[in-house]
């Protein structure tokens, strides 16, 4: 695998299918960046949504749910 294909494999945590791994570097980097961006955006959005969601809960319930969210 090329270096760019290995970067995609690391981002995917799996070896990409052969025709994907054989793409030009530019396209492999595009896929890797798109997935990494999407993961980062998802983490941000999830944190924001959880904070906002807690705001809808009555105080007593909020404490219980916050505890559950902490695991």
């Amino acid at each position: 695998m090329t270096e760019a294909a290995e970067e995609l494999a690391r981002e995917l945590r799996a070896d990409p299918p052969p025709s994907i791994a054989a793409l030009p570097t530019e396209h492999l980097r595009h896929l890797t960046a798109a997935l990494a961006d999407q993961r980062a955006a998802q983490l941000r959005a999830a944190d924001e949504a959880i904070d906002e969601g807690l705001g809808f809960l009555p105080r007593v319930l909020r404490t219980v749910v916050r505890k559950a969210l902490m695991g």
Partner: protein, 419 residues
């Protein structure tokens, strides 16, 4: 679905997952669709396991009244995060919340859902939720989304969705199904009275390719009722169907339908000029004699038998123009299905003596396995009289040469003596 359309659908699904425009992934459109799908599965797995907070939030929802969860889902999370969190939710809770959410929101969630992770929830969704969501997805032409779900939806929900979708949506959705192996079963859930409307829609909207692609994935048992509907189509509609089949090379989908018709309707449809043109007949023969046309000769024979005399003679003429490899395919298929030998011999008997030379050459070139099977079919005690009577002398001489080559002269003579 054709590989080209399959690949386009896969690029669309991956683009949605990564929140890109499909054009931005145009460099994937020439790749094998199965590999783009594998990449999407890998990216889905990665994304859906990358936000442990979402899974915890989904699990924590059980502590919150369902009405409040529905409010938070819409106002704080939105459909994409809900879809990605859904796999971590308790099934009963998820259903209770879904009942309180509007269909357009659930349709948005469905677009982003990974059915593999939410199979248990999908299987438990009640009809009163399935129907409005299916209607909403149908309104939005979300055929690709609906096509991802079939393998995960129980029969009662499939039947409910079928009732909610119009004929065009059904056709387009079935065409882009991800699990075509489920199609045969799903068509069994289709009320028979829907078939004429679906076929009429295929004709009206020129969706024959979509309709014929479906036929390629269903059993004879399901094709039977479809054949009955096709058999009573008007001449103009049949002409459109035949033109579409010729253009897209889909004879392997249509010929079995013709085979499954009753004799009378088959003769009626075979009498239509759409089947009589030299180009169409040549096209059919080429399809039936392609190296990968496994069994298509058997499907073609009932049509050849039902054709009017002039068109049948045209088929005989066209057989003489086939290259040796194509002719060998017919001989091989006819030998393997002895009930089709009579049709082949009748075609051979119609050929001009000079033209029969290609058949003689093909028999002379036959290898042992083919020669033995062909002789066994020709000398079947029940049919030998009728079949041998059809064989012109020059062809019979070639058969005799083949029998000598394979040390089967005694068997051939015994059969001929018994006729």
């Amino acid at each position: 679905m054709s590989e080209r359309l399959d690949a386009r659908a896969e690029v669309l699904k991956l683009a949605r997952l990564l929140e890109l425009k499909p054009d931005e992934l145009s460099y994937l459109s020439g790749l094998p669709s199965a590999e783009v799908r594998d990449l999407r599965d890998q990216a889905t797995d990665r994304l859906f396991t990358s936000a442990p907070g979402l899974a915890r939030a989904a699990a924590a929802a059980r502590l919150i009244p369902s009405g409040l969860v529905a409010t938070i889902a819409q106002r704080a999370f939105g459909p994409m995060l809900c879809a990605r969190a859904a796999g971590g939710a308790d099934t009963a809770k998820a259903i209770d919340v879904a009942r309180r959410l509007p269909a357009d929101f659930l349709a948005d969630v469905a677009i982003h859902l990974d059915p593999r992770r939410t199979a248990e929830i999908i299987a438990a969704v009640p009809e009163e939720v399935v129907v409005p969501v299916a209607e909403e997805l149908g309104r939005r032409h979300e055929h690709v989304t609906m096509g991802r779900f079939l393998a995960f939806v129980p029969d009662h929900a499939v039947a409910a969705a079928i009732g909610a979708l119009d004929d065009e949506t059904m056709l387009r959705t079935a065409f882009v199904l991800e699990h075509k192996d489920r199609l045969d079963h799903a068509i069994g859930l289709l009320p028979p009275e829907r078939l004429p409307g679906i076929i009429d829609t295929a004709a009206r909207l020129e969706l024959w390719s979509e309709a014929l692609d479906l036929l390629a994935h269903v059993s004879d048992e399901r094709k039977g009722p479809i054949a009955e509907v096709v058999a009573v189509l008007e001449e103009g509609v049949v002409a459109g169907l035949v033109a579409a089949v010729s253009a897209d090379g889909l004879w392997e989908s249509l010929l079995p339908v013709v085979r499954l018709m009753g004799e009378e309707p088959r003769i009626r449809i075979a009498a239509m000029p759409a089947f009589h043109g030299t180009e169409v007949l040549a096209d059919i023969l080429h399809a039936a004699t392609a190296e990968d046309a496994d069994g298509l000769w058997v499907d073609l024979v009932p049509l050849v038998d039902a054709l009017p005399d002039e068109a049948n003679a045209r088929v005989a003429g066209l057989v003489t123009t086939l290259d040796p490899a194509a002719l060998a395919v017919i001989l091989r298929e006819a030998a393997a299905a002895p009930h089709t030998l009579e049709t082949l011999l009748r075609l051979v008997a119609r050929m001009r003596p000079d033209d029969r030379e290609v058949v003689v050459t093909a028999i002379d070139a036959a290898e042992r396995e083919l020669g033995e099977t062909l002789l066994a079919g020709l000398t079947d005690p029940e049919d030998v009289g009728r079949l041998v009577a059809l064989v012109p002398d020059d062809v019979l001489t070639a058969v005799r040469r083949a029998a000598e080559r394979f040390d089967l002269t005694a068997e051939l003579d015994a059969a001929l003596a018994a006729r």
